[in-house]
Protein backbone atom coordinates (compact mmCIF):
# COMPACT_ATOMS: atom_id res chain seq x y z
CA UNK A 1 0.00 0.00 0.00
CA UNK A 2 1.36 3.36 -1.00
CA UNK A 3 0.53 5.00 2.24
CA UNK A 4 2.48 2.45 4.22
CA UNK A 5 5.64 4.46 4.02
CA UNK A 6 3.76 7.67 4.88
CA UNK A 7 2.99 8.98 8.29
CA UNK A 8 -0.76 8.78 7.68
CA UNK A 9 -2.82 5.62 7.70
CA UNK A 10 -6.10 5.49 5.74
CA UNK A 11 -7.81 4.70 9.03
CA UNK A 12 -6.48 7.78 10.78
CA UNK A 13 -9.51 9.78 9.66
CA UNK A 14 -11.67 7.66 11.98
CA UNK A 15 -9.62 8.58 15.03
CA UNK A 16 -11.60 10.29 17.74
CA UNK A 17 -9.99 13.43 19.11
CA UNK A 18 -11.38 14.76 22.38
CA UNK A 19 -11.52 18.55 22.63
CA UNK A 20 -12.27 18.53 26.35
CA UNK A 21 -12.09 16.20 29.28
CA UNK A 22 -15.56 16.11 30.77
CA UNK A 23 -16.89 13.52 33.14
CA UNK A 24 -20.43 12.92 34.31
CA UNK A 25 -21.11 10.44 37.08
CA UNK A 26 -17.82 8.72 36.46
CA UNK A 27 -18.44 8.40 32.72
CA UNK A 28 -16.36 10.15 30.11
CA UNK A 29 -18.54 12.46 28.06
CA UNK A 30 -15.78 14.52 26.49
CA UNK A 31 -16.69 16.77 23.60
CA UNK A 32 -14.97 15.21 20.59
CA UNK A 33 -14.76 15.66 16.82
CA UNK A 34 -17.55 13.07 16.61
CA UNK A 35 -19.78 15.19 18.88
CA UNK A 36 -18.91 18.25 16.81
CA UNK A 37 -20.03 16.69 13.56
CA UNK A 38 -23.24 15.45 15.22
CA UNK A 39 -23.96 18.99 16.35
CA UNK A 40 -23.13 20.37 12.90
CA UNK A 41 -25.49 17.79 11.37
CA UNK A 42 -28.35 18.67 13.71
CA UNK A 43 -27.72 22.39 13.19
CA UNK A 44 -27.76 22.03 9.40
CA UNK A 45 -31.01 20.03 9.46
CA UNK A 46 -32.89 22.25 11.90
CA UNK A 47 -31.74 25.52 10.33
CA UNK A 48 -32.45 24.35 6.79
CA UNK A 49 -35.90 22.98 7.55
CA UNK A 50 -36.81 26.05 9.61
CA UNK A 51 -35.45 28.85 7.47
CA UNK A 52 -36.53 27.54 4.08
CA UNK A 53 -40.12 27.00 5.20
CA UNK A 54 -40.24 30.28 7.12
CA UNK A 55 -42.12 32.27 4.41
CA UNK A 56 -44.73 29.45 4.29
CA UNK A 57 -45.56 30.54 0.75
CA UNK A 58 -48.19 28.74 -1.30
CA UNK A 59 -45.91 28.91 -4.30
CA UNK A 60 -42.67 27.61 -2.80
CA UNK A 61 -39.20 28.96 -3.38
CA UNK A 62 -36.61 26.46 -4.57
CA UNK A 63 -35.26 25.86 -1.09
CA UNK A 64 -38.73 25.51 0.41
CA UNK A 65 -39.47 23.00 -2.33
CA UNK A 66 -36.43 20.96 -1.26
CA UNK A 67 -37.78 20.74 2.29
CA UNK A 68 -41.25 19.84 1.03
CA UNK A 69 -39.82 17.18 -1.26
CA UNK A 70 -37.95 15.58 1.65
CA UNK A 71 -41.11 15.67 3.74
CA UNK A 72 -43.16 14.08 0.96
CA UNK A 73 -40.43 11.55 0.20
CA UNK A 74 -40.49 10.10 3.71
CA UNK A 75 -44.26 10.50 4.09
CA UNK A 76 -44.75 8.55 0.86
CA UNK A 77 -42.26 5.90 1.93
CA UNK A 78 -44.02 5.45 5.25
CA UNK A 79 -47.52 5.32 3.78
CA UNK A 80 -46.40 2.88 1.06
CA UNK A 81 -44.85 0.43 3.51
CA UNK A 82 -46.86 0.81 6.71
CA UNK A 83 -50.07 2.50 5.59
CA UNK A 84 -52.22 4.67 7.82
CA UNK A 85 -50.71 3.25 11.01
CA UNK A 86 -47.38 4.75 10.02
CA UNK A 87 -48.34 8.41 10.49
CA UNK A 88 -47.47 8.30 14.20
CA UNK A 89 -43.88 7.33 13.46
CA UNK A 90 -43.33 9.92 10.75
CA UNK A 91 -41.31 12.35 12.96
CA UNK A 92 -39.07 9.52 14.12
CA UNK A 93 -38.44 8.04 10.66
CA UNK A 94 -37.93 11.51 9.20
CA UNK A 95 -35.45 12.46 11.93
CA UNK A 96 -33.60 9.17 11.49
CA UNK A 97 -33.40 9.61 7.73
CA UNK A 98 -32.23 13.22 7.93
CA UNK A 99 -29.75 12.45 10.71
CA UNK A 100 -28.10 9.64 8.75
CA UNK A 101 -28.31 11.46 5.41
CA UNK A 102 -26.84 14.76 6.59
CA UNK A 103 -24.37 12.90 8.84
CA UNK A 104 -23.10 11.08 5.76
CA UNK A 105 -23.04 14.28 3.73
CA UNK A 106 -21.18 16.22 6.44
CA UNK A 107 -18.70 13.36 6.38
CA UNK A 108 -18.11 13.97 2.67
CA UNK A 109 -16.76 17.46 3.43
CA UNK A 110 -12.95 17.28 3.55
CA UNK A 111 -11.48 17.22 7.08
CA UNK A 112 -14.91 16.58 8.53
CA UNK A 113 -15.46 13.60 10.77
CA UNK A 114 -18.02 10.96 9.67
CA UNK A 115 -19.86 9.78 12.78
CA UNK A 116 -21.86 7.22 10.79
CA UNK A 117 -18.60 5.37 10.15
CA UNK A 118 -18.51 4.36 13.81
CA UNK A 119 -20.18 1.06 14.62
CA UNK A 120 -21.21 2.21 18.08
CA UNK A 121 -23.25 5.08 16.64
CA UNK A 122 -24.94 3.06 13.92
CA UNK A 123 -25.55 0.20 16.31
CA UNK A 124 -27.19 2.55 18.79
CA UNK A 125 -29.50 3.89 16.08
CA UNK A 126 -30.31 0.34 14.92
CA UNK A 127 -30.89 -0.74 18.52
CA UNK A 128 -33.40 2.08 19.02
CA UNK A 129 -35.27 0.85 15.94
CA UNK A 130 -35.04 -2.81 16.96
CA UNK A 131 -36.09 -2.34 20.59
CA UNK A 132 -38.78 0.14 19.59
CA UNK A 133 -40.35 -2.12 16.96
CA UNK A 134 -40.18 -5.16 19.25
CA UNK A 135 -41.96 -3.28 22.04
CA UNK A 136 -44.47 -2.06 19.47
CA UNK A 137 -45.04 -5.61 18.27
CA UNK A 138 -45.74 -6.87 21.78
CA UNK A 139 -47.94 -3.86 22.52
CA UNK A 140 -50.03 -4.54 19.41
CA UNK A 141 -50.24 -8.33 19.56
CA UNK A 142 -49.23 -9.32 23.10
CA UNK A 143 -47.92 -12.87 23.37
CA UNK A 144 -49.23 -13.57 19.85
CA UNK A 145 -46.29 -11.59 18.52
CA UNK A 146 -44.26 -14.80 18.81
CA UNK A 147 -46.35 -16.21 15.96
CA UNK A 148 -44.28 -13.86 13.81
CA UNK A 149 -41.69 -16.64 13.74
CA UNK A 150 -44.26 -19.20 12.59
CA UNK A 151 -44.67 -19.19 8.82
CA UNK A 152 -48.12 -20.43 7.79
CA UNK A 153 -48.61 -22.64 4.74
CA UNK A 154 -45.39 -24.57 5.22
CA UNK A 155 -45.28 -28.37 5.79
CA UNK A 156 -45.25 -29.07 9.55
CA UNK A 157 -41.94 -30.94 9.49
CA UNK A 158 -40.24 -27.77 8.17
CA UNK A 159 -41.08 -25.76 11.27
CA UNK A 160 -38.28 -27.07 13.51
CA UNK A 161 -35.92 -25.75 10.86
CA UNK A 162 -37.73 -22.55 9.92
CA UNK A 163 -38.55 -21.22 13.38
CA UNK A 164 -34.91 -21.00 14.53
CA UNK A 165 -34.01 -19.38 11.19
CA UNK A 166 -36.75 -16.80 11.64
CA UNK A 167 -35.66 -16.11 15.23
CA UNK A 168 -32.05 -15.68 14.22
CA UNK A 169 -32.93 -13.44 11.29
CA UNK A 170 -35.10 -11.33 13.59
CA UNK A 171 -32.39 -11.00 16.20
CA UNK A 172 -29.74 -10.16 13.62
CA UNK A 173 -31.77 -7.22 12.34
CA UNK A 174 -29.98 -4.58 14.46
CA UNK A 175 -26.62 -6.05 13.49
CA UNK A 176 -27.32 -6.09 9.74
CA UNK A 177 -28.89 -2.64 9.92
CA UNK A 178 -25.96 -1.08 11.75
CA UNK A 179 -23.15 -2.97 10.02
CA UNK A 180 -24.54 -2.11 6.56
CA UNK A 181 -24.29 1.62 7.20
CA UNK A 182 -21.03 1.42 9.16
CA UNK A 183 -19.26 -0.80 6.59
CA UNK A 184 -20.37 1.30 3.63
CA UNK A 185 -19.09 4.49 5.22
CA UNK A 186 -15.89 2.86 6.45
CA UNK A 187 -15.09 1.28 3.08
CA UNK A 188 -15.87 4.38 1.03
CA UNK A 189 -13.83 6.75 3.17
CA UNK A 190 -10.94 4.32 3.47
CA UNK A 191 -10.86 3.83 -0.30
CA UNK A 192 -10.79 7.60 -0.84
CA UNK A 193 -7.84 7.93 1.55
CA UNK A 194 -5.97 5.01 -0.04
CA UNK A 195 -6.24 6.60 -3.46
CA UNK A 196 -5.29 9.97 -2.00
CA UNK A 197 -2.13 8.23 -0.77
CA UNK A 198 -1.52 7.01 -4.34
CA UNK A 199 -1.76 10.56 -5.67
CA UNK A 200 1.09 11.62 -3.37
CA UNK A 201 3.17 8.48 -3.75
CA UNK A 202 3.10 7.99 -7.53
CA UNK A 203 6.00 9.51 -9.51
CA UNK A 204 5.84 12.46 -11.90
CA UNK A 205 2.39 13.20 -13.34
CA UNK A 206 0.97 9.72 -13.02
CA UNK A 207 -0.64 10.81 -9.78
CA UNK A 208 -3.28 12.49 -11.94
CA UNK A 209 -4.90 9.11 -12.64
CA UNK A 210 -5.77 8.23 -9.04
CA UNK A 211 -6.89 11.86 -8.63
CA UNK A 212 -9.42 11.44 -11.46
CA UNK A 213 -10.51 8.22 -9.81
CA UNK A 214 -10.99 10.05 -6.50
CA UNK A 215 -13.23 12.62 -8.19
CA UNK A 216 -15.40 9.86 -9.65
CA UNK A 217 -15.39 7.97 -6.36
CA UNK A 218 -16.52 11.08 -4.50
CA UNK A 219 -19.59 11.20 -6.71
CA UNK A 220 -20.25 7.54 -5.99
CA UNK A 221 -19.79 8.15 -2.27
CA UNK A 222 -22.38 10.94 -2.32
CA UNK A 223 -24.78 8.50 -3.99
CA UNK A 224 -23.99 5.87 -1.36
CA UNK A 225 -24.45 8.43 1.42
CA UNK A 226 -27.98 9.05 0.17
CA UNK A 227 -28.66 5.40 -0.57
CA UNK A 228 -27.64 4.20 2.88
CA UNK A 229 -29.82 6.81 4.56
CA UNK A 230 -32.70 5.67 2.34
CA UNK A 231 -32.05 2.00 3.13
CA UNK A 232 -31.93 2.78 6.85
CA UNK A 233 -35.26 4.61 6.62
CA UNK A 234 -37.03 2.02 4.48
CA UNK A 235 -35.89 -0.87 6.70
CA UNK A 236 -37.14 1.04 9.73
CA UNK A 237 -40.50 1.39 7.95
CA UNK A 238 -40.58 -2.32 7.16
CA UNK A 239 -39.80 -3.25 10.77
CA UNK A 240 -42.60 -0.95 11.97
CA UNK A 241 -44.89 -2.65 9.43
CA UNK A 242 -43.88 -6.07 10.81
CA UNK A 243 -44.86 -4.89 14.29
CA UNK A 244 -48.40 -4.29 12.95
CA UNK A 245 -48.88 -7.11 10.48
CA UNK A 246 -47.80 -10.58 11.42
CA UNK A 247 -47.55 -13.00 8.51
Amino acid sequence: MASKGEKHSPLEQFEIIPFSNTELGGYDISFTNSSLSMIITVAVITLFLTLTVNPRSLVPSRMQLVSELMYNFIAQLLSDTVGDNGKKYFPFVFSLFMFVLIGNMVGMVPYQFTFTSHIIVTFALAAIVFIGTTILGFANHGIKFFSFFYIPGVPFYMHPLLIPIEVISYLSRPISLSVRLFANMLAGHTLLKVFAGFVVAMPFFTGVFPLVFIVALTGLEILIAFLQAYVFAILTCLYINDAYHLH
Binding site: P18, Y27, L49, E68, Y71
Partner: protein, 163 residues
Protein backbone atom coordinates in the same frame (compact mmCIF):
# COMPACT_ATOMS: atom_id res chain seq x y z
CA UNK B 1 -9.25 0.32 13.92
CA UNK B 2 -10.40 3.32 15.98
CA UNK B 3 -14.02 2.18 15.71
CA UNK B 4 -13.39 -0.77 17.98
CA UNK B 5 -11.71 1.23 20.72
CA UNK B 6 -14.20 1.18 23.62
CA UNK B 7 -12.55 4.20 25.21
CA UNK B 8 -14.83 6.60 23.37
CA UNK B 9 -18.00 4.51 23.27
CA UNK B 10 -19.69 6.24 26.17
CA UNK B 11 -19.05 9.78 24.98
CA UNK B 12 -20.27 8.95 21.48
CA UNK B 13 -23.44 7.37 22.86
CA UNK B 14 -23.99 10.34 25.15
CA UNK B 15 -23.65 12.90 22.38
CA UNK B 16 -25.69 10.76 20.01
CA UNK B 17 -28.54 10.63 22.50
CA UNK B 18 -28.31 14.39 23.16
CA UNK B 19 -28.16 15.47 19.53
CA UNK B 20 -30.63 12.95 18.17
CA UNK B 21 -33.19 13.65 20.90
CA UNK B 22 -32.90 17.37 20.25
CA UNK B 23 -33.33 16.76 16.50
CA UNK B 24 -36.32 14.49 17.02
CA UNK B 25 -38.12 16.88 19.36
CA UNK B 26 -37.33 19.91 17.23
CA UNK B 27 -38.53 18.33 13.99
CA UNK B 28 -41.56 16.75 15.64
CA UNK B 29 -42.69 19.92 17.39
CA UNK B 30 -41.59 22.72 15.05
CA UNK B 31 -40.32 21.85 11.57
CA UNK B 32 -42.60 19.06 10.43
CA UNK B 33 -45.91 20.70 11.49
CA UNK B 34 -44.84 23.82 9.59
CA UNK B 35 -44.13 21.94 6.38
CA UNK B 36 -47.28 19.88 6.86
CA UNK B 37 -49.35 23.05 7.24
CA UNK B 38 -47.94 24.57 4.09
CA UNK B 39 -48.63 21.40 2.12
CA UNK B 40 -52.15 21.13 3.50
CA UNK B 41 -52.88 24.77 2.75
CA UNK B 42 -51.67 24.35 -0.82
CA UNK B 43 -53.71 21.21 -1.35
CA UNK B 44 -56.81 22.95 -0.01
CA UNK B 45 -56.24 25.95 -2.28
CA UNK B 46 -55.75 23.74 -5.34
CA UNK B 47 -58.89 21.76 -4.52
CA UNK B 48 -60.90 24.93 -4.05
CA UNK B 49 -59.68 26.34 -7.35
CA UNK B 50 -60.48 23.09 -9.08
CA UNK B 51 -64.03 22.95 -7.73
CA UNK B 52 -64.57 26.62 -8.63
CA UNK B 53 -63.31 25.97 -12.15
CA UNK B 54 -65.59 22.95 -12.47
CA UNK B 55 -68.56 25.00 -11.31
CA UNK B 56 -67.81 27.76 -13.79
CA UNK B 57 -67.45 25.24 -16.57
CA UNK B 58 -70.81 23.68 -15.73
CA UNK B 59 -72.39 27.13 -15.78
CA UNK B 60 -70.83 27.94 -19.13
CA UNK B 61 -72.11 24.66 -20.51
CA UNK B 62 -75.58 25.44 -19.24
CA UNK B 63 -75.50 28.85 -20.93
CA UNK B 64 -74.25 27.24 -24.11
CA UNK B 65 -77.18 24.83 -24.00
CA UNK B 66 -79.64 27.69 -23.52
CA UNK B 67 -78.18 29.55 -26.50
CA UNK B 68 -78.35 26.40 -28.57
CA UNK B 69 -82.02 25.74 -27.76
CA UNK B 70 -82.91 29.38 -28.38
CA UNK B 71 -81.22 29.28 -31.76
CA UNK B 72 -83.07 26.07 -32.58
CA UNK B 73 -86.34 27.66 -31.52
CA UNK B 74 -85.70 30.78 -33.58
CA UNK B 75 -84.85 28.71 -36.65
CA UNK B 76 -87.96 26.58 -36.41
CA UNK B 77 -90.10 29.67 -35.74
CA UNK B 78 -88.76 31.41 -38.82
CA UNK B 79 -89.35 28.42 -41.08
CA UNK B 80 -92.84 28.02 -39.63
CA UNK B 81 -93.58 31.67 -40.34
CA UNK B 82 -92.34 31.40 -43.90
CA UNK B 83 -94.51 28.35 -44.44
CA UNK B 84 -97.72 29.91 -43.06
CA UNK B 85 -97.17 33.15 -44.95
CA UNK B 86 -96.59 31.41 -48.26
CA UNK B 87 -99.66 29.19 -47.85
CA UNK B 88 -101.88 32.12 -46.88
CA UNK B 89 -100.60 34.09 -49.86
CA UNK B 90 -101.31 31.16 -52.14
CA UNK B 91 -104.83 30.83 -50.73
CA UNK B 92 -105.50 34.51 -51.23
CA UNK B 93 -104.24 34.39 -54.79
CA UNK B 94 -106.46 31.38 -55.46
CA UNK B 95 -109.47 33.19 -54.08
CA UNK B 96 -108.78 36.28 -56.19
CA UNK B 97 -108.31 34.16 -59.28
CA UNK B 98 -111.59 32.30 -58.80
CA UNK B 99 -113.36 35.57 -58.14
CA UNK B 100 -111.91 37.07 -61.31
CA UNK B 101 -112.87 34.01 -63.34
CA UNK B 102 -116.42 34.11 -62.07
CA UNK B 103 -116.75 37.83 -62.91
CA UNK B 104 -115.40 37.19 -66.38
CA UNK B 105 -117.78 34.27 -66.90
CA UNK B 106 -120.69 36.43 -65.83
CA UNK B 107 -119.65 39.20 -68.19
CA UNK B 108 -119.23 36.75 -71.06
CA UNK B 109 -122.71 35.36 -70.39
CA UNK B 110 -124.21 38.86 -70.37
CA UNK B 111 -122.53 39.74 -73.62
CA UNK B 112 -123.79 36.53 -75.15
CA UNK B 113 -127.31 37.34 -74.12
CA UNK B 114 -127.07 40.89 -75.40
CA UNK B 115 -125.73 39.68 -78.73
CA UNK B 116 -128.50 37.07 -78.99
CA UNK B 117 -131.12 39.60 -78.13
CA UNK B 118 -129.94 42.19 -80.63
CA UNK B 119 -129.68 39.47 -83.25
CA UNK B 120 -133.24 38.38 -82.65
CA UNK B 121 -134.42 41.97 -82.71
CA UNK B 122 -132.63 42.58 -85.96
CA UNK B 123 -134.09 39.43 -87.47
CA UNK B 124 -137.59 40.44 -86.40
CA UNK B 125 -137.07 43.93 -87.79
CA UNK B 126 -135.82 42.56 -91.09
CA UNK B 127 -138.83 40.24 -91.23
CA UNK B 128 -141.27 43.05 -90.75
CA UNK B 129 -139.47 45.26 -93.25
CA UNK B 130 -139.52 42.41 -95.78
CA UNK B 131 -143.26 42.12 -95.22
CA UNK B 132 -143.69 45.83 -95.64
CA UNK B 133 -141.61 45.93 -98.81
CA UNK B 134 -143.42 42.96 -100.27
CA UNK B 135 -146.80 44.57 -99.56
CA UNK B 136 -145.72 47.85 -101.00
CA UNK B 137 -144.22 46.23 -104.06
CA UNK B 138 -147.28 44.16 -104.70
CA UNK B 139 -149.63 47.09 -104.32
CA UNK B 140 -147.50 49.31 -106.50
CA UNK B 141 -146.80 46.78 -109.23
CA UNK B 142 -150.11 44.97 -109.42
CA UNK B 143 -152.33 47.31 -107.45
CA UNK B 144 -153.13 44.23 -105.62
CA UNK B 145 -154.24 44.52 -102.15
CA UNK B 146 -152.94 41.70 -99.96
CA UNK B 147 -153.52 41.29 -96.35
CA UNK B 148 -150.64 41.21 -94.02
CA UNK B 149 -151.32 37.59 -93.00
CA UNK B 150 -151.18 36.33 -96.47
CA UNK B 151 -147.87 37.94 -97.13
CA UNK B 152 -146.52 36.53 -93.96
CA UNK B 153 -147.59 33.02 -94.85
CA UNK B 154 -146.22 33.30 -98.34
CA UNK B 155 -142.86 34.51 -97.14
CA UNK B 156 -142.70 31.82 -94.52
CA UNK B 157 -143.50 29.12 -97.10
CA UNK B 158 -140.87 30.47 -99.50
CA UNK B 159 -138.40 30.64 -96.68
CA UNK B 160 -139.20 27.02 -95.91
CA UNK B 161 -138.65 25.99 -99.50
CA UNK B 162 -135.33 27.93 -99.58
CA UNK B 163 -134.19 26.37 -96.45
Amino acid sequence: MPQLNPEFFVTQLFWLVVTFSFLLVFLWRISLPRIGNVLEKREKKINEDLTAAKKLQAEAEKIQDIIETQLQQARSDASEMIKTTSTSLQDKAQVELTKLEKGLDAKIGESHEAIEKSKNESVAQIQSQINEITKLTLSKVASFEVSDDEIKNAIASSERSIN
